[in-house]
């Protein structure tokens, strides 16, 4: 009869994809673990350190900008009804589908040399491709908050502002931070748009490419491993805090 065959085949197909996703990352890390010397010397390379710094600083600024600009947009999308709301929601998601090199061309076409090869350019490219994570996270959370909490606060004497700052925002903060961390991770993963807009100041994700092209695979690997460990630890911390947060409810 083979009535468990569906489960078995699905588990097999699903496992294939899982292995495909995890194998490259782990094998790269494990390979590097066998060569701690080069990892250590990479960590002493001032070019690498400065590139990592550039990556972290620009991604962090991007995440903060995404909060300042994205949370209000998420609130409007969650709470207000207006004509063209679907269109606006569509526009928020557009950056996900634009080829990264095209993002760079479009930004450069629009803002020209003011963003060419400077920090502003890095942040501009990162914000474009990553802001939607924060907007969508904030929107989903705002939409899930019982509006009656806000109504009660209003009847108890709080203005719209006080209601937002004392009730809505504190309740949404964990979700907004999760979204911002996704924005951070997406920002630090960007390469294609940076190649066009801001090859310099050099970020770590560009440096990986640089080393690969100049010195080959094994030279680029230590930087790649450092970068992936950083991204993964942020990601794991995010998952963990999310899981804890949902337990607390």
């Amino acid at each position: 009869m083979g009535r468990r065959s569906l489960d078995t085949i699905f588990a097999a197909l699903g496992s294939f994809l899982l292995v495909y996703i995890t194998l490259p990352i782990t094998s790269m890390i494990l390979l590097q673990a066998g060569d701690l010397g080069s990892l250590e010397s990479t960590l002493r390379d001032p070019e690498v350190i400065s590139a990592l710094e550039n990556s972290v600083i620009t991604a962090t600024v991007t995440a903060l900008l995404a909060i300042v600009l994205g949370v209000p947009l998420g609130y409007v999308l969650a709470r207000k009804e207006f004509r063209g709301k679907d269109l606006v929601q569509g526009m928020v998601d557009v950056p996900i589908v634009i080829p990264h090199s095209v993002v760079g061309i479009a930004l450069l076409t629009t803002f020209s040399s003011s963003i060419l090869d400077n920090y502003l350019g890095i942040i501009a490219a990162m914000l474009f491709v990553s802001a939607s994570f924060t907007v969508n996270a904030a929107r989903d959370r705002f939409a899930s908050i019982d509006e009656r909490l806000e109504h009660v606060a209003r009847t108890l004497g709080a203005s719209k502002w006080r209601t937002f700052t004392t009730v809505t925002f504190p309740l949404s903060l964990p979700a907004i931070l999760s979204g911002a961390i996704m924005t951070w991770a997406r920002a630090i993963s960007e390469v294609g748009a940076l190649l066009v807009v801001a090859y310099y100041p050099k970020t770590a994700q560009i440096l990986v490419l640089d080393y690969f092209e100049e010195f080959g695979l094994s030279a680029s690997r230590p930087v790649a491993v450092l970068l992936v460990l950083m991204s993964l630890s942020v990601f794991v911390a995010l998952r963990w805090s999310l899981a804890r947060g949902s337990e607390g409810r």
Binding site: H151, A153, G157
Partner: protein, 345 residues
Amino acid sequence: MLEVQRVGKRWKEFELRDVSFRIERREYFVLVGPSGAGKTLLLEIIAGIRRPDEGRIVIGGKDVTDLPPEERGVSYVPQSYALFPHMSVLDNITYGLRIRGMSRSEAEKKATGLVRTLGIEHLLNRKPHCISAGEQQRVALARALVVEPILILLDEPFANLDMRIKSRLMSEMKRWREELGFTALHVTHSFEEVMVLGDKLGVLLHGRLRRWGKIGDVISDPGDEDVAKFLGYENVLEGMAEDGCLRVGELNVILPFTVSGKVRVCFRPEDVLLSVERIDSSARNQFKGRITEMEDLGPLFRITVDLDNDIVVRSYVTKASVLEMGLREGSKVYVSIKASSLKVF
């Protein structure tokens, strides 16, 4: 205190039309209606959360129709209470005071008496999701009352509670109400809550306030058939109870339980037995009266009997019995009510 003047509003699938009523100071007004009648929408309009399409809301003599909720002095307790999940019980209760600029310690001092009256001293440091539904209800009530509102709006405050807790909390609500003397508009679909708590009763059906007034008045004269059907209990007596007896005017009604004080007693028309002669049976309450109205409901007659002192009792009697006993308007009859079929509130 509160005047609702010809309020109309369409919102989602709900619609209110031409709703007008008044609540006086310290009155407890219960608005009943089936789900979907627009009860919550009406509360939200009074609280200022939604604007009416037409009509005015006047609170304490002031037209507040254009004021935002925070300037109306009306507290709102939504169904399921909407306690702030990120604040402790104490912070929930003092929220309204602190938002008005009162210091934390001052606010906590001010809340002390109310917290004691409501019996929630032991919960103050807990988070709302760690207390029971009955406790949540009391905390929500404290949060709403501590700001000394002109009026408190209660949306189905007993709907989330299971039967046993519900009846206990209802009688406590009655006590708090007497002790604290607040003015309340309470919406519900449960007739029991009307009987236990209400001074006045309004009946909202399909977005229209079909009838409102003193409870006894509304029940004994529902105005139209829909309201009468919705109310169900057609016989209500009100009086002072003592030693298992209820004095209503000059009548003595024997009760199935020992209660005392001012109570209401309800019973269904099908529990009222009519007879031409005095009968000797297990029905303890037997009164003389005169038939004033006979209504043909098909297989049954709905017969209205006037006892002494304007007390009116309705009975359902089968056609065959009516013929056999020769009942007609003006007939003198004995009315028997089994004490065990009385519902006491």
